[in-house]
Symmetry: C2
DNA sequence: CACAAATTATTGGTATACGAAATATTCGTG
DNA sequence: CACGAATATTTCGTATACCAATAATTTGTG
């Protein structure tokens, strides 16, 4: 067996973490699968849809502002915007007086696309959620929020 | 900042999904960050640790068996095993009578590594979890389990 | 004004993560 | 026994996702 030589006073934390890690992996895989489905049928992925929607909602945005909204690294967003621009769903423009900034702007094609594409919500999710009561859904949201708050939040932490 | 989607019925499912997607993104990012930390300090990543631990726990495994345990695509696991094998933490062997299968086997170096490496649990997680009561932790586990079951893989579904 | 420091976005390198195609081997059926 | 179907793994191409380094520009300070 595994006698952890570690000095952790709370012995049950590790199996808890492993359990949650595996379940989160299952969830991530489902998102990934749906992303592939969208890509095949609508030539777009979930991260791309999310970025495009944010640009649409919050008007012309700098790339840096977008990265903060979607919790992604600037280099990641740079690549996503590359692909969105290649499809002419949005465009990079240099309108700011600060010439370091680029602004992301919807194109007509992009606007039309957002009205055409179905809701980016997997059928399974809609079905599954409908089986929960309001208070159960509240509890799920609470739990995910707690985990995000606990682990998340940016700035200087190594672990 | 974000209003939690207070839902009911069917019309509010989309904001609920978007909300959860964003929070899960935050969680995934934290995992990613910790994975980078492990890589820098111990030359291994979270997916690699998870695969190595499974091979250790369940004895010699075929690659296919491992993919089912960790909920990853076979091509993904193939790459992870490549990197673990390059560091000589495990090895591919062809001992089965079925010569299509390869078995994954711990090496002495791999065994030693697992006793040396600290628990693969981020400090933030341990700290954060200690602030919850047992029933709160139960609720978090329940919620993540529900989401995983709801979205998770039951074979061939497109969405 | 000059020039270092800070800011913004891109580029390069590595590690997931997937599906599809290729490869190797075994199994099933005539 | 032959040969197509099924199975196990690897390879290839693409899309995230990160950090570090780079490039371009602006800001701050002497």
């Amino acid at each position: 067996m595994n006698e952890t030589p570690r000095q952790n006073g709370t012995g049950m934390v590790e199996p808890l973490f492993i359990h949650l890690t595996k379940r989160l992996r299952v969830i991530a895989r489902a998102f990934n699968k749906y992303s592939k489905y969208l890509q095949e049928h609508h030539r777009i992925t979930i991260p791309q849809v999310i970025c495009l929607r944010e640009v649409h909602e919050h008007g012309p945005l700098t790339l840096g502002a977008l990265t903060r909204i979607v919790s992604l690294n600037n280099s990641t967003v740079s690549g996503i915007v590359d692909r969105l621009e290649k499809q002419e769903l949005l465009q990079r423009v240099r309108t700011s007086s600060d010439r370091r900034q680029i602004h992301l702007q919807m194109t007509d094609k992009g606007l039309h696309f957002l009205t055409t594409i179905p809701t980016p919500v997997p059928e399974r999710f809609i079905e599954g959620m409908s089986r929960f009561s309001d208070s159960e859904i509240d509890r799920i949201v609470w739990a995910v929020d707690q985990l995000a708050e606990l682990l998340g939040d940016e700035e200087h932490q190594q672990q």
